[in-house]
């Protein structure tokens, strides 16, 4: 106090400090308290900060504060070519990198009017579904850990590790894959990789059974989630919630079915729906979606067509390296695309796909130059987090952890 008086005699600070000394608490039970949860808190799944107003242990109000991981991707995208942005999509939802890669190139292809060959699209679907499994496994594992079931985290990560080996085999990186290219994919999936994925998927159902058995028969797990954080159908729609959280509230909406992209209309899969809208329903949805994704992967492997993996569109799509070194025309195109961008025609598009977290949309405005004029990421985690103050109201502090886990936000995506 003396130090403050001497060195920083700011009259306002001093006044505020002096005013505090007169607080008397007459009845300790009648007082509300403000608790700062995060940004450095393991249960907030990244750098989410919540300000909670508590009465005892009951949450009276909650204000989420975002921006601790804001990197300004939308600004950066306006200053780089379309091709250069692909690695940055890995860093959005870093638990399901392939899904983001696919979503981004689909948006750019829609803008430029390119269609990737059928094999490339099937490879994209295959990797996106594997990525969805990986993303959901992390969600289930960390969610179970948040409420005290640590074993499942290890099991989920063990299975995810196998999927990352496929990434390594196919894309050359375990984590930051950057696998897709505008007009196709970076490298072909070998027969060896396909047979490995097939072997994995055949055993995968058993692994999910194990996880499900240990969780669904666990009384503590069920009791901590049932009826907690209930989100009604109306509120879910009103707050623009998408993905598993929306389907857990009884809305059968999945963009893979509603507005099919890639070749999802050729595949047979169900969209799981629950009507309870609580944390337990959101967990069930994820488990069921993992099984559906495994079903899709099996079908894709069976139907995988032969052919090219990148479109033949020399003005917009990067040619293959061997051609660049041997042919003049291709060298020129490569130089132009890398240095000046691929210049899609002026216009604006919005392209949305179903990511593990919900609807990932890109709104791109092109003015015909190499870099987008406006680039907007509609990230599902950001939109889903908005409903948090509503559903934590009236819950206990320990339930807040479960509710965040069940919404499964990834801050890399929410903060952009």
């Amino acid at each position: 106090m003396d130090r403050i008086l001497k060195e920083e005699a700011d009259s306002q600070i001093l006044k505020a400090l002096m005013a505090d000394t007169n607080i008397t608490i007459e009845d300790a039970l009648e007082n509300e308290m403000v608790l700062n949860m995060g940004p450095q808190h393991p249960a907030t799944h990244g750098v989410l900060r919540l300000l909670l107003r508590l009465d005892g242990e009951t949450v009276m109000a909650c204000v989420p504060e975002l921006g601790y991981l804001h990197r300004g991707y939308e600004k950066m995208a306006e200053n780089m070519s379309y091709l250069e942005f692909i690695p940055h999509t890995d860093r959005l939802d870093y638990t399901a990198t392939m899904c983001n890669n696919v979503a981004y190139v689909l948006a750019v292809e829609k803008l430029a009017g390119i269609e990737a060959p059928k094999r490339a699209q099937y490879i994209r679907m295959l990797m996106a579904e594997l990525s969805r499994i990986a993303g959901h496994l992390i969600a289930i594992g960390t969610f179970a850990m948040d409420v005290g079931a640590i074993t499942v985290l290890m099991w989920a990560f063990r299975e995810r590790e196998k999927i990352q080996e496929f990434y390594d085999l196919v894309a050359g990186a375990r984590f930051t894959t950057s696998y897709t290219r505008i007009g196709g994919v970076a490298s072909d999936v070998t027969d060896e990789a396909i047979s490995m994925i097939k072997a994995f998927i055949d055993k995968f159902d058993k692994a999910v059974d194990e996880m499900e058995n240990i969780l669904n028969t666990n009384r503590i797990f069920i009791d901590r989630l049932e009826g907690i954080g209930t989100l009604t159908k109306e509120d879910a729609i009103r707050y623009g919630v998408t993905g598993p959280s929306l389907r857990a509230s009884g809305v059968q909406h999945d963009i893979r079915r509603a507005n099919p992209y890639l070749f999802y209309d050729e595949l047979d899969f169900d969209i799981p729906v629950h009507t309870e809208g609580d944390c337990l329903a959101r967990y069930f949805i994820r488990i069921e979606e993992v099984r559906e994704s495994a079903k899709i992967v099996k079908q894709i492997i069976g139907k995988m067509p032969k052919g090219e993996i990148i479109a033949n569109n020399p003005k917009r799509v990067l040619p293959h390296k061997t051609e660049i070194y041997s042919k003049m025309e291709e060298l020129i195109h490569d130089f132009m695309i890398v240095n000046f961008g691929m210049n899609p025609p002026a216009g604006d598009i919005y392209s949305a796909v179903e990511n593990p977290k919900g609807e990932l949309g890109f709104y791109i405005v092109s003015n015909g130059k190499g870099a987008p004029w406006k680039f907007k990421i509609r990230s599902p985690s950001f939109c889903n987090l908005q409903v948090l103050p509503l559903i934590v109201k009236g819950a206990m502090i320990s339930d807040v952890v479960a509710i965040i886990g069940s919404l499964d936000p990834v801050m890399g995506e929410a903060d952009k």
């Binding site: 975002l66 921006g67 804001h70 300004g72 939308e74 600004k75 950066m76 306006e78 200053n79 829609k110 803008l111 009017g113 729609i237 009103r238 707050y239 623009g240 809305v251 909406h253 509603a258 507005n259 216009g347 604006d348 598009i349 919005y350 949305a352 609807e359 949309g361 709104y363 405005v365 004029w373 406006k374 907007k376 509609r378 950001f382 939109c383 908005q386 903060d415 952009k416």
Partner: protein
Amino acid sequence: MEFKELIVEKIRSAFNGALSGVNEYRGDLSLTVDSGKIAAICKFLKEDSELNFNMCEDVTAIDQATHTNRFTLVYHIYSLENKFRLRLKTNIEAEMTDTVTGIWQSANWYEREVFDMYGIKFHNHPDLRRIYMPEEFEYHPLRKEFPVLGIPGSIPLPKK
């Protein structure tokens, strides 16, 4: 009648003259409407029993970097029943427009983001604060005049 035509027809008849442009590009239907009527048109699109645009997916702005009509607001709304996405665009003259938070609750944070990134204010918004940048930050980063490297000293560091 096709659904796209139905939307255009209904807005034309309900708001005489407020619809200034209909554009379809790569399958996306985009309507340009009068900025003064935006809240009323949104309310109509949500409450009409046939159209039923019950979900607001995104609100964002485009900085056109021009002297007049600098900003364009862009709304993406979705009808779960009809499985249809519509884009609404409106050019605003002043850096001020009506909020649609009262119509779709989800617009709350989207509009906060637009305010943070472009400095566009929304009338009657319940909680218009910055969402990503610190409260004391003076600039709006997605405006075209803001340099991509940032402005030195714009985020204060602790004193030595």
